[in-house]
């Protein structure tokens, strides 16, 4: 190999590295753009979870809303996405390998997270549940960074973590005043949303780890479809009132239409944020951005268009968490490419 060949090789390696950094940037942009879709969907979900027929029994109403409205429409939308993109074959072709059990693992994590969010937003309100739920991205990033030995600790990371703490503190202190319940119920609601944050955080990491070996589209299908099976089996077997709530929800065309908005919004976020965002930019960057911003929009839409009691403090708290997350993940392109290699 001549010196010239080595120089050409080094130049190509550098170009390749920069291209990878650019791809990570693209993933981050998708993750950001997906966020309002989940805000629209889950803000609406949290605003109707306290209304009839979902307030017949708690937390059965929240469970029924997730199982019979959100997820069926989401699975339908993802099915359409697979058909249009021509990747539906991959959904079947991932089966029969040990790694495909990872689908079930992720689906259970996502299902528990969704259920906890719906139950918690009935107790503490969508605005507060949203602003705390955004921490899922940071949890996913910490797990991902630890397991993949990806270094995320820089001076700005500590600043970001501090901003997150301040944001959460502001949101909780402001949100507790206008929350639907007080006292012990409020505390239980906070506890449930923390469980949601942890399971979603793990799911966010698990998706990025899974897409390393599994085709992202097939993986996406099983993540949603298994949630549909699990949620409905449990609801109809274990919650007799749930069957009644499901019947009432499906006999009201307005609620079915609302379910479609929730399900489609959720599916758009899953496709753009979780799959394109995370598989391009990784759990650390894609995961943090898509989760933090999506949950900011849940809080923002809840307080504005969905008519929860407006609170400047919750908005300021949510903005502080977003700034915190940005400080954790934003870095120069060349640095980013080096980190990802």
């Amino acid at each position: 190999m001549t010196t010239n060949d080595i120089a050409v090789g080094a130049e190509l390696a550098e170009r390749s590295r920069l291209a990878d950094g650019k791809k990570t940037r693209m993933g981050m942009i998708y993750a950001v753009l997906a966020a309002p879709a989940l805000g629209l969907a889950f803000g609406l979900l949290s605003s109707i979870v306290t209304a009839p027929p979902f307030n017949l029994e708690a937390p059965t109403g929240a469970f029924a809303l997730v199982a019979v409205l959100q997820v069926p429409f989401g699975v339908f939308a993802i099915g359409v996405f697979l058909a249009v993109s021509g990747t539906w074959r991959d959904a079947v072709r991932v089966l029969g390998h040990r790694v495909s059990w990872w689908n079930l693992f992720v689906a259970v994590g996502g299902f528990v997270g969704d259920l906890c969010f719906a139950a918690a937003s009935g107790l503490i309100g969508g605005a507060l549940a949203g602003s705390i739920g955004g921490l899922a991205g940071v949890v996913g990033a910490v797990i991902g960074a630890a397991l993949y030995r990806e270094r995320i600790l820089r001076p700005t990371t500590l600043l970001g973590l501090a901003a997150l703490a301040v944001g959460i503190w502001l949101a909780v202190s402001g949100g507790s005043i206008s929350a639907p319940t007080q006292g012990v119920y409020f505390a239980v609601g906070l506890l449930i949303i923390v469980v949601a944050v942890l399971t979603w955080g793990f799911e966010s990491f698990a998706i990025s780890a899974g897409t390393d070996l599994m085709p992202a589209e097939g993986f996406l299908w099983w993540r949603a479809f298994l949630e549909l099976l699990l949620a409905n089996t449990l609801l109809f077997l274990l919650f007799p009132t749930g069957r009644h709530i499901a019947y009432l929800a499906w006999s009201d065309p307005r609620l079915v239409a609302i379910g479609a908005v929730i399900g489609f919004g959720w599916a758009i976020w899953m496709i753009m944020g979780f799959y394109i965002g995370i598989s391009y930019a990784g759990a650390v960057r894609g995961g943090v951005l898509t989760n933090t911003l999506a949950f900011f929009f849940i809080a923002f839409f809840s307080l504005t268009v969905y008519g929860a009691p407006f609170s400047v403090i919750v908005i300021v708290g949510s903005i502080a968490t977003v700034i915190g997350a940005m400080l954790i993940v934003t870095e120069p392109k060349s640095y980013l490419a080096r980190q990802r290699n």
């Binding site: 050409v8 090789g9 190509l12 390696a13 170009r15 390749s16 291209a19 990878d20 791809k23 021509g86 074959r89 991959d90 079947v92 072709r93 991932v94 089966l95 029969g96 390998h97 040990r98 790694v99 993949y148 897409t211 390393d212 070996l213 599994m214 085709p215 097939g218 598989s279 990802r340 290699n341």
Partner: protein, 107 residues
């Protein structure tokens, strides 16, 4: 049932072992079993697997403005592939066109 193209690619690299393969040659090998449209994500899949360190990129060349890479399954990733993927689903392929590192593959 055919395995997903990404799995077949990983298993082909597993069978090639130390020899490795140019990515366009791998594309050719997979075309024995899949239609072109099913392989459109292959380059992206290979880059993804090398980002997490499962593939070694031994050499890169430029061809009409595109970077082509010579991949080899990393030694550390062999047990992972053997454990996670069902190797009996591997579609037997004619690997005689796989090429070698010395022969550049496009001249």
């Amino acid at each position: 049932m055919k395995p997903a193209p990404k799995y077949q690619a990983a298993m082909t690299l597993y069978h090639l072992g130390n020899r490795g393969i140019w990515e366009h040659r791998l594309f050719g090998v997979l075309r024995q079993h899949y239609r072109d449209s099913e392989l459109s994500g292959l380059r992206e899949d290979l880059i993804g697997m090398s980002t997490v360190g499962w593939l070694d990129t031994l050499e890169q060349r430029e061809h009409r403005g595109q970077i082509l890479r010579f991949y080899r399954l990393a030694e550390s990733a062999r047990p992972l592939i053997a454990y996670q993927l069902n190797l009996t689903t591997y579609l037997p392929s004619d690997l005689s066109t796989a090429g070698t590192l010395i022969e550049s593959g496009m001249r």
